[in-house]
């Protein structure tokens, strides 16, 4: 479980995050949603330690990430996996080498075991036989799946996904969402996903945190979104005609 308590982040004079409190539970797909520029990426970068918070606490199963020593942070980071918006695969390595990389760096397995584990992870994301390809030779959706395989190679306790559906077609987005969701349940990970894709929200949002202009706007589940009376949330979620119609259909009295 990851807990955030009274988190603030400022850049020079600009307050980007103001008093964020949130709990991300184990074995659930936790989503951070919000408009572009609302501060959700800054929040994610604070949680994983790419930015230092101005004030507040980030607790990983009770361990305060902000006040940890450098060494403790490095050790904790080995329990994390991350999928970036751009997949961030190492383009000088093959797909298999990318997945093997965390194993090469941090595991004591022999080479045969490392290859077996990397191939298992590639199988898990349905990429059998793609191991010898270079990242530049595969599609965007496949790159995201390789990133998932790399993120789970060391069996992480915490999985972070920064807009994993960005730039993908709706069908591939669903595949990626389902993969993240099923892996989260299978390994009982604490997954935090940053998104503004409403299909993801409605599909896999078990615990949703809505960030509005740097503050916590709303928290709840995908089912609670339908009945929410929070105006800011509704104007964000139901901005498109399609979602407006879905809401109307859900709220109309059944007769």
């Amino acid at each position: 479980m990851i807990e955030i308590k009274h988190l603030y982040k400022s850049f020079e004079d600009k307050d980007v995050l103001k008093d964020i409190n949130a709990t991300f539970e184990d074995g659930k797909t936790n989503l951070i949603i919000g408009q572009s520029g609302s501060g959700k990426t800054v929040l994610m970068k604070n949680i994983v330690g790419l930015f230092e918070p101005t004030k507040g606490e980030i607790l990983y199963d009770g361990r305060d990430f902000v006040r940890m020593s450098k060494r403790e942070r490095v050790m904790l980071r080995r329990e994390m996996g991350m999928i970036f918006q751009s997949a961030a695969l190492f383009d000088s390595m093959t797909v298999l080498e990318n997945v093997m990389f965390p194993l090469d760096m941090f595991s004591d397995m022999n080479e045969a075991d490392r290859i077996r584990r990397a191939e298992f992870c590639l199988d898990r994301v349905n990429l059998q036989g793609a191991g010898q390809k270079m990242p530049g030779e595969i599609s965007g959706g496949m790159q995201k799946r390789v990133a998932i395989a790399r993120a789970i190679a060391l069996n992480p306790k915490y999985l972070f996904c920064d807009e994993p559906n960005s730039g993908l077609d709706p069908k591939t987005s669903l595949v990626i969402d389902e993969l993240i969701h099923s892996i989260t349940h299978e390994y009982q990970m604490t997954t935090i996903m940053n998104t503004h894709d409403m299909n993801s929200v409605m599909g896999i949002g078990e615990n949703i945190i809505y960030i509005h202009e740097g503050t916590l706007g709303w928290t709840g589940t995908k089912d609670e979104i339908m009945t929410s009376t929070n105006e800011k949330l509704n104007s964000f979620i139901f901005a498109s005609d399609l979602f407006k119609k879905i809401k109307e259909a859900n709220t109309e009295p059944h007769g």
Partner: protein, 247 residues
């Protein structure tokens, strides 16, 4: 403001070097990267070093013969001067300026692209010291390979000089006498020591510019240019200092 900017940059450079020179997390991975960098930065530069040194050796020989040599000077002057220019300056300093262009831009653009495509963030999230993992093998790889490049450059320069001799500009015997006249082996060592210092400048300064890229492809290009300009300037300053120190 101008001075503050440069002091800040220097502080950031020292901080990066502090992170770079730490014990590698996995020696196996470090050695793999080290060998790869020796090949990419050193072996892949042999061609251009040989080509340029050959022609420069030939041109120096022709220029000296045509413009300096006279009946009042000994016949070995051309060979002697060619050797001194090649050993003392060209094969260390000028060749490193050329390598600052080739290798420096390569390093800055590679690391810069890794920065803008979040590959460095991915390393950091995994708990890898990205500075040490990416930069240390480049610095050590180039510093290992540069003495070989210096020796290849001197040899190629001499071959170029012989090519002009066999083409009839001067006699090969006069050239040989000149190349061997008053030879001081320390000058070769001096050239190698200087080039090792320049290799450190090229790899570390270019890595600094690449590592601190912010933005997109335009900024990677800018960092690459800045890396070449800054490392070239630093090589020229260091050359004055090192020449005075080692002579």
């Amino acid at each position: 403001m101008f001075i503050v900017k440069y002091i800040t940059a220097f502080g950031k450079y020292l901080d990066l070097m502090g992170r770079t020179f730490s014990v590698p997390e996995r020696m196996r991975m470090f050695l793999k990267q080290y060998v790869k960098e020796m090949e990419q930065l050193g072996v892949d530069s042999i061609g251009i070093v040989l080509l340029i040194s050959f022609f420069i050796g030939a041109v120096i020989c022709i220029q000296i013969k045509l413009n300096i040599q006279s009946p009042w000077m000994p016949a070995f002057t051309t060979g002697y001067t060619t050797r001194e220019i090649m050993v003392l300056e060209f094969s260390s300093s000028i060749m490193c300026l050329i390598l600052a262009g080739k290798v420096g831009s390569n390093i800055a653009s590679e690391i810069g692209t890794m920065r803008v495509t979040q590959q460095i963030d991915a390393l950091e999230i995994m708990g890898v010291n990205s500075a040490s993992f990416l930069i240390l093998p480049k610095i050590l790889g180039l510093m290992t390979m540069i003495p070989f490049l210096v020796i290849f450059s001197i040899a190629a320069g001499f071959i170029g000089a012989y090519a002009t001799a066999y083409a009839g500009i001067l006699t090969p015997d006069d050239l040989t006498v000149g190349l061997l006249h008053s030879f001081v082996p320390w000058f070769v060592w001096m050239s190698i020591i200087k080039s090792i210092c320049f290799a450190f400048i090229i790899a570390s300064v270019s890595s600094y510019y690449g590592y601190n890229v912010q933005g997109g492809s335009f900024d990677v290009g800018k960092a690459s240019t800045n890396a070449v300009v800054s490392s070239s300037m630093l090589i020229l300053f260091a050359d004055i200092f090192l020449t005075q120190l080692l002579s």
